[in-house]
């Protein structure tokens, strides 16, 4: 299997692995949210991704836009809260940007992901350092883009993104929250990893798993 493109089946596998990871780590995510939020991020993501994967299995997607628009809509209509619309928009924009293809090459996936991030920002208005999922998505995509600039290998790019994602996630610990529920805590939000940042890191872990070794 070439690592220069990613097929709809592989992208489906990505989403399935993401579902598996948030399900596996449901209590970890909820614990993070109970420290600075309302203790539902784990169950929100598990419920949402569970619904996404169930729908895909019931009627598998033929094209990339079908897959991600479906996933985005399902998240939007099954999660609620802040993460539902944010992750939902992220996937929706990936879908609309990718269009009715059956696979994506590295620049194609990079562009789609960047559009997804644009959707998150359009919705949530988060900036760097606000202690949100943005603080993982943004450095991860920057690393992905940089890797794609020098190589067409998706696996390499995914590894680079995941590494940056982990760093971004851990860096949220020191931040003072300025968006979402955690911002009500002011100073008291410092010292805790942001739950949305943690789930977003899992998204890149899942991509690495899907694409396999470099």
């Amino acid at each position: 299997m070439s690592n220069d493109t990613i097929t709809v089946d592989q992208l489906t596998d990505w989403l399935t692995r993401f579902r598996d990871l948030v399900t596996e780590q449901v209590s970890y995510l909820t614990e993070l949210d109970s420290a600075i939020g309302d203790a539902d991020h784990g169950s929100n993501m598990t419920r949402g991704m569970g619904a996404v994967v169930e729908k895909i299995h019931a009627s598998p997607a033929g094209t990339v836009d079908e897959l991600f628009k479906g996933a985005g809509m399902t998240l939007v209509t099954s999660v609620g809260g802040a993460s539902g619309p944010l992750y939902g928009t992220f996937f929706l924009r990936i879908g609309t940007t990718a269009g009715p293809r059956t696979s994506l090459d590295a620049p194609g996936l990079a562009a789609a992901l960047r559009a997804g991030l644009g959707g998150v920002v359009a919705r949530g208005k988060a900036e760097a350092g606000d202690k949100t999922m943005f603080d993982v998505l943004s450095p991860a995509l920057a690393a992905f883009d940089a890797a794609v600039d020098v190589s067409s290998d998706l696996s390499t790019a995914a590894h680079a993104a995941y590494f940056a994602a982990q760093t971004g996630r851990d860096a949220t610990r020191a931040l003072l929250a300025r968006k979402g529920r955690a911002s009500y805590l002011g100073e008291r939000s410092i010292g805790h990893i942001d739950p949305g940042a943690a789930s977003t890191a899992l998204l890149f872990q899942a991509l690495v798993e899907t694409l396999g070794e470099e």
Binding site: G81, G84, Y184
Partner: protein, 333 residues
């Protein structure tokens, strides 16, 4: 946790079904997606008003559906914003051709889900305006937070916007009057005991037997400080200070004073609080011309209360006094 529930997963749909059965003279309920509309919705030519948010704050918002107030309420799961689809369905169900106002409490989840619903409604040809209620002075309003939370002041926004729509104002005007109320209403609350979300089964936070949380949010979010229990009058003074200093409210102002129970506090206590709050306002030369006391924006069985002060002018007073006919607020018909 002891609660009068069956399966915790069914709390909202069973309660909404019960609400529909109990108030069939006022409302119709949709079971899937879950929303509540006034019985005669849509009212042709009238601006429709929709509010909603997580459940657990009853009577807000379902108890305010009816002539003179909301056209629809969209209850999400307990303490969780509804998704856009029921909001969209409710918006369409109450559009009488004059557009729809969304009254949204300022929580990221609520904001985003209502926003999405508004986009989708617009795509379907329904004109939608949104206002964000953010009356809670316990949380600093700054560029560096999600902003102040929306709490019991929401009831006053809904009543007054409802009256404006009822007298035939257009969408722009109804939104403006709602914004005006939002600009002039401030609240702050206190918790004596925590609430228990049914599917969580655990108290949302813990307070020692002699501790109270000043500035509590309506989902049990932390407030300004945790202090030792004090006499009611001292607690009232702690809440009223930041409220009155915020806008600020000054001598000569006419205001509406709302003492709101959090769900588990007996009425005698709310009136003891009201007595002191009215006293403080009088001392400051602020005239209380309208009052409301009771459980309106609750936090399940939490013991505690919030105080809300709204600066009134002649128009807002007239709109407040206008007839309203809902399960939880009713006068004039």
């Amino acid at each position: 946790m002891k609660k009068l529930v069956n399966d915790p997963k069914n709390v909202v749909n069973e309660a909404v079904a019960g609400f529909g059965a109990a108030h069939a003279d006022l409302v119709r309920v949709s079971a899937d997606p879950i929303f509540i509309v006034r019985k005669d919705a849509p009212v042709a030519g009238k601006v429709g008003i929709v509010s909603g948010g997580g459940s657990g704050h009853e009577p807000m918002h379902g108890g305010f559906v009816g002539p003179g107030m909301l056209d629809a309420a969209v209850p999400g799961p307990v303490f969780t914003s509804p998704t856009p689809d029921p909001i969209l369905a409710a918006t369409k169900a109450v559009d009488g051709g004059a557009g729809v106002l969304h009254i949204v409490k300022n929580y990221t989840g609520d904001v985003l889900n209502f926003e999405t619903a508004a986009d989708l409604a617009a795509a379907d040809g329904v004109e939608v305006r949104s206002v964000l209620v953010n009356d809670d002075v316990a949380v600093k309003d700054s560029l560096y937070t999600a902003g102040r939370r929306g709490v019991a002041g929401t009831v006053l926004v809904e009543k007054i916007a409802g009256a404006a729509a009822d007298r035939g104002d257009d969408l722009e005007s109804v939104a403006l009057v709602a914004e005006r109320v939002i600009g002039q209403v401030r609240s702050m609350g206190v918790a004596l005991t925590p609430c228990v979300v049914p599917h969580a089964g655990q108290p949302s936070f813990t307070l020692a037997e002699d501790e109270i949380e000043i500035g509590i949010g309506i989902h049990g979010e932390p407030g300004r400080e945790r202090i030792k229990l004090e006499p009611a009058d001292a607690i009232v003074d702690r809440l009223l200070g930041p409220i009155l200093d915020d806008i600020p409210f000054v001598a000569g102002d006419k205001v509406l004073l709302l003492v709101n129970g959090m769900g588990g506090t007996p009425q005698v206590e709310l009136y003891i609080v009201f007595r002191r709050a009215a006293e403080v306002l009088a001392e400051r030369g602020i005239e209380v011309t309208r009052t409301l006391v009771g459980n309106f924006t609750t936090s399940l069985e939490m013991q505690g209360m919030s105080i809300t002060v709204l600066k009134l002018d002649d128009e807002l007073t007239t709109l407040w006094d206008a007839p309203v006919q809902t399960a939880a607020l009713r006068w004039g018909r």
